[in-house]
């Protein structure tokens, strides 16, 4: 009975030790207020919650229209979380923080922290 329990704990420890890496891509359309707002929101969130463990790429759909098809973008702004899996798409200007955190699987971590 003890052995498995300790192993689980060990595993969890090991997992926590590995810094979670966030790979994010934000699609915006030019410099519309909504796009600007989305950029501000994600940057603030990354700074507060994902400091040092994220990579954020901002794509202007007008500059790279071909990427729309590959990432299946229909709505703008859209934030794509490629890593960690599963892949999620966050549609909107990211002002609904609760939903954003849920989409990024961050609610738990915040509760733990």
């Amino acid at each position: 009975m003890r052995k498995p329990k300790s192993k689980t704990r060990e595993y969890e420890k090991a997992i926590a030790a590995v810094p979670r890496k966030y790979l994010l891509r934000l699609y915006i359309s030019g410099t519309t207020p909504r796009s600007v707002r989305a950029i501000e929101n994600i940057k603030r969130l990354c700074d507060t919650r994902l400091k040092g463990c994220y990579e954020l790429e901002i794509v202007d759909i007008y500059q790279q229209p071909a990427s729309l098809a590959t990432d299946q973008i229909i709505a703008v702004p859209t934030l794509i979380k490629t890593l960690p899996l599963p892949m999620r798409k966050l549609i909107g200007d990211l002002s609904d923080e609760e939903n954003v955190l849920m989409g990024l699987d961050l609610v738990k971590t915040s509760g733990a922290a």
């Binding site: 759909i61 098809a69 703008v76 859209t78 798409k89």
Partner: protein, 587 residues
């Protein structure tokens, strides 16, 4: 400003419809008076499996092939590979068009489970994707299939509705002719009310099952700025895509041809002014079972192929081989014509498809083969495939269609019971010539009679002819009209024999009379001769008598003179001695 308005008023009032974008789908363009509204979106709605996507894809593919207008398909439901494979099964090489840069099929994936909505957004991504694709190939046509999937993927309906309105406006501004498909909703045309945004043209697709027969239908619900057909038009999807049936031609405008075509039966031609049917007319052969309707049709076909014309037979009861073989038994050899490509059969069971499918198939076959004559054998078989009014409607369309092409058509139909001059399918008024075949039952046998019930535009015979099927085909016999009506079969033969006997008896009688007269004359002559002899004899006798009398008188005179002489001498001698006369007188 004033000048301009005057110029408008001064312009002749000419009906000008909005520009059209032909779909290339046979029949649909006719219904829509040229095609979809150019530069506007058209909503195609219908329930699942009614052919919305196919209609849209055919619009794009035909546009690319026939009208050199590249197209973009934005598919929300099927991947590009799936779509291309689907239309390939209907004979379209979509992949080839994609490779040639005339078609883009873009799959828009919306996976609800991956999506989290976190605030305001718009659909610029979709717009840009579409715009990018349009610009890449210079597309003129767009298919959005099915844009309503957005409602399943995104929850903010308010945003969606606004964006859809913007999308259609944007497409209009770009001058793109778009087909937007939408799922049929409860009591509404589309589940999410797309008809609110696309109000220029709405096409409704539908399918029904009637008597276990499946029929697809299409209706143009609205079409701003254009006339359009308003009926439910049947359509079908087969190996060559969609065909819509522009069912009824409103006007009767077919040219009346003055040429004649032979019926293939000399006796029948004779009944029809000696020339046959008018070319381009419709002929109905009706009759009870086994009266030889098909045989009449076969004669007609044979006459056509002998004239080197093309004949197309739609058989609903017999297979091609059976038809040809059976006609061989009455001496009609059709196999060579089949081999030469002059005769084609289209045999199918009436219940194999719905009526419309039959009609469309017939249209297609006719369009492909371009026959000069068409035989439908028998139309009554179609009663299995639909209701009476549907069938007569279908036949009306078929007759109209054939007439418009100048094709002479012969229909056979089976009638039952005693009401021979009534067709179950009520198509008698549609046809120009109606020939009735009937059984004449008398004297313990059934014989066949034929008469022309009507034939528009010609003085046809009013007689009932007997017709016989032999190994040399149909032979019409002059009708025998006896005191008991038309005699047929052996009754006619007997009657004819009887007549012949009577005739010869009469001849014999005359001969006899003649001889009698001759004899009489001879007898008379003999009598006359005898009389003359008699008279001569009498005359001779008389002459003899006269001569004798003369002699006697002479003799008497001489005697008297002698007597007188002697008396005088007596007186001289004595008066006693007198002559016998004088002596008597004295006493």
């Amino acid at each position: 400003m004033k000048n301009a308005s005057r110029a408008i008023l001064a312009r002749p009032a000419r009906r000008r419809e909005i520009p059209k974008c032909p779909t290339g789908i046979s029949g649909l363009d006719q219904i829509m008076a040229g095609g979809l509204p150019r530069g506007r979106p058209t909503l195609v709605c219908g329930s699942a499996g009614c052919g919305k996507t196919l209609l849209g894809m055919e619009f794009l593919i035909r546009g690319a092939i026939q009208f050199n207008e590249p197209g973009v398909c934005l598919s929300f439901e099927e991947t590009a590979a799936e779509l291309i494979a689907n239309v390939a099964s209907l004979g379209f090489d979509a992949q080839g068009l994609v490779d040639a840069g005339k078609l883009i099929v873009d799959y828009v994936q919306i996976d609800r489970s991956q999506i989290e909505e976190t605030g305001e957004y718009n659909l610029d991504g979709l717009f840009l994707r579409l715009d990018h694709a349009i610009q890449e190939i210079g597309a003129k046509r767009v298919l959005l299939d099915t844009v309503e999937s957005l409602f399943a993927g995104l929850s903010n309906e308010l945003v969606l509705r606004g964006e859809l309105r913007r999308l259609f406006r944007w497409l209009k501004d770009k001058g793109i002719t778009a087909v937007v498909t939408g799922e049929r909703g409860e009591g509404t045309l589309t589940r999410h009310g797309l008809e609110e945004y696309i109000s220029d043209c709405v096409i409704l697709l539908d399918h029904r099952v009637n008597n276990a027969v499946f029929t697809r239908r299409l209706r143009v619900v609205k079409y701003r700025g254009s006339t359009h057909g308003t009926n439910d038009y049947p359509f079908l999807i087969d190996e060559r895509g969609i065909s819509v049936l522009p069912v009824t031609s409103v006007e009767l405008r077919h040219a009346a041809l003055r040429e004649f075509v032979s019926s293939g039966i000399p006796g029948l031609d004779e009944m029809l002014q000696g020339r046959g049917f008018y070319r381009g007319n419709s002929i109905l052969i009706s009759g009870t079972a086994g009266t030889g309707k098909t045989s009449v049709g076969a004669h007609f076909v044979k006459a056509a192929v002998d004239r080197k014309e093309k004949a197309l037979v739609f058989a609903f009861e017999e297979s091609r081989d059976q038809w040809v073989r059976n006609m061989q038994s009455i001496g009609i050899e059709l196999e060579p014509a089949v081999r030469k490509g002059l005769l084609r059969h289209d045999a199918s069971r009436p219940t194999a498809f719905g009526l419309e499918m039959h009609l469309v198939r017939m249209h297609k076959a006719i369009e492909e083969f371009r026959p000069d004559v068409v035989v439908v054998d028998p139309i009554s078989a179609l009663a299995h495939a639909g209701s009476i009014s549907e069938i007569s409607g279908m036949l009306l369309r078929l007759v109209d269609y054939l007439k418009s092409l100048g094709i002479t058509a012969l229909f056979t139909t089976m009638v039952q019971g005693s009401e021979l001059e009534y067709t179950d399918l009520a198509i008698s008024s549609l046809v120009d010539t109606w020939i009735l075949l009937r059984d004449i039952e008398s004297g313990g046998e059934r014989n066949r009679g034929l008469y022309v019930l009507k034939s528009r535009g010609m003085a046809h015979s009013n007689q009932i002819r007997e017709f016989a099927l032999s190994s040399k085909g149909i032979r019409l016999r002059q009708a025998y009209l006896g005191p008991e009506g038309v005699l047929t079969g052996s009754a006619r033969v007997v009657q004819e024999a009887r007549e012949r006997a009577a005739e010869s008896a009469k001849l014999w009688e005359i001969e006899r009379r003649k001889l009698q007269l001759e004899r009489k004359r001879k007898a008379l002559d003999a009598q006359v001769a005898a009389l003359r002899v008699e008279v001569d004899a009498e005359e001779a006798e008389l002459r003899q008598l006269l001569a004798q009398e003369g002699q006697r008188l002479e003799a008497a005179r001489t005697e008297r003179a002698e007597m007188a002489g002697s008396r005088r001498s007596e007186a001289r001698a004595g008066a006693v001695q007198t002559g016998p006369n004088g002596g008597g007188r004295k006493r």
